[in-house]
């Protein structure tokens, strides 16, 4: 039996994924440095759920604007996410051989080209925003600021750095607390998910108060997403996830299940999801985003 939320999400996917996929590749096709472009394309084409671009487009739609108006923002988010996965999979970071069921970028192209492919995707994300014909110059500047904040040392990269340090802390047997774990999650995963909603809101020309609400909802959604990631790493299998599991334990990462137990982590997941839904209620057409918040918290990969 398919739930109402599942039907909504399925329809969104059927409608929006072709739009995302068709816009994802052109900027990295052709031109000089063909090996680099091949490496960039490889990871973009490796699939994945496209959660960030979908949330970006759905946010624009929830504010009464066509998905197309936020398409460059959506693509930029997926470029940044894909770059972060390539660098995160490197031997010096998480050292993963498998991603989305395929060999990781450095396994195919070597570490040097993989580092460059990540660098290229991050840079291109800003280029895509700058070249978007649908946004005004003022809107572009706002997207630059939000993306730089969310992706850089005050956001994702900062979170990854704390995560690496957390492993050292964890190995040393020193205590760590929930606020530290929340900080890592807020920066590492939350910042980019939040930015997906914010960029959609900017593309839709949303007023400041709507943007604030979406920003907070995005933060709660990001937290829920990461808690579910932690839970799946302890409860799922490599076959279902398309990547190595139990690696948090192996790498001595700080996680929600480790800190709160599996039941405690599930409770925290429910709370974060409920908070996201509560914050989404006042948006003009929140049905899709609310369905996604529900389904993401129940995802199995």
């Amino acid at each position: 039996m398919t739930s109402h939320f599942e039907s909504v999400v399925k329809a969104d996917i059927e409608r929006l994924i072709p739009l995302i996929e068709s816009a994802l590749l052109p900027p990295v096709s052709g031109g000089e440095a063909p090996k680099l472009r091949e490496a960039m394309r490889y990871s973009l084409e490796a699939g994945g759920k496209r959660v960030r671009p979908l949330l970006c487009l759905l946010t624009a739609e929830s504010l009464g604007k066509p998905a197309q108006s936020a398409l460059s923002c959506a693509i930029a988010m997926e470029y940044v996410h894909t770059y972060s996965l390539i660098h995160d999979d490197l031997p010096a970071m998480d050292d993963d051989d498998l991603r989305r069921g395929k060999p990781t970028n450095h396994k195919v192209y070597g570490e040097g080209q993989a580092i460059l492919a990540g660098d290229g995707l991050l840079t291109e994300a800003f280029g895509i925003l700058a070249g978007d014909a649908a946004l005004s110059a003022a809107q572009k500047v706002e997207t630059f600021q939000i993306l730089a904040d969310a992706a850089g040392c005050r956001g994702m990269v900062g979170g990854q750095s704390l995560d690496l340090e957390g492993e050292v802390l964890c190995r040393s047997g020193k205590p760590y607390d929930r606020s530290h774990l929340q900080l890592i999650h807020r920066l590492k995963t939350g910042a980019l998910l939040r930015a997906s909603l914010e960029l959609g809101a900017i593309a839709a020309g949303a007023a400041q108060d709507t943007r604030s609400a979406l920003r907070e909802a995005g933060a709660a959604l990001g937290l829920a997403f990461q808690i579910q990631d932690d839970i799946l790493d302890t409860t799922s299998t490599s076959d279902v996830m398309g990547k190595r599991v139990r690696k948090d334990e192996e790498k001595c990462k700080i996680t929600y299940p480790k800190l709160l137990g599996l039941d405690g982590a599930r409770k925290a997941l429910r709370e974060a999801t409920e908070r996201a839904i509560f914050l989404l209620q006042p948006i003009p057409n929140p049905a899709s985003l609310i369905a996604w918040a529900n389904i993401l918290s129940m995802r199995t990969n």
Copy 2:
């Protein structure tokens, strides 16, 4: 005896370096992820000649605008340059232990944090441009486009990828020609130097034809800079350079001295420098930029 050009360059350095140094660090100080910020600061503080920010400020001045008007552009260029050095020094790339006479970033902070420090600096470069109070929204969008083009797969990162592939080509004993070498140099070093002049021109509100002239001059200057780099790698010492030398030979890199002989490379350097100077002549106040073009072609480190 000090030449006229040396006096001009010395005065520029005394005047502008304090401005650059004072603006370089605040954005990466304080805040969350202290280890990451420390790693970012470490490489920013490691010194270097600050050629790109200097050229950026001098370009604004050559068009009659105060250096201050291009300061964010100058800092953004140095962030991108610094990130590229950190990633270039990694074991998977050039594998260098020494940079500017100090241990390379990954030798101090580990490879993981060094990759993230590079990612953070690249992202922050765009953040600095976005947050600049002196530029209009339209100017910011132009700087984003130029920086993304110059730093990404159509520029520096593309050149580094070709460079890595060139090593494979070189090891296989296959022939390579001058046009391929020029392409690598144009992308790897030329693009960022060219962008330094272009960003200075945008900050100064230059007209399209002035920007085109500066763009071409920057390209010639970039080529000269890289040829001199190649020459110094074969003729200088580690003590003078503050980094490992003879590594081009060791890594089987394609270089100008290897392709044209040392005399041929010096001739190519002179030609590129003369072309840069010729292109700079019509600019309103070209004296400083011309002095720099001359001195850079004679530099010893």
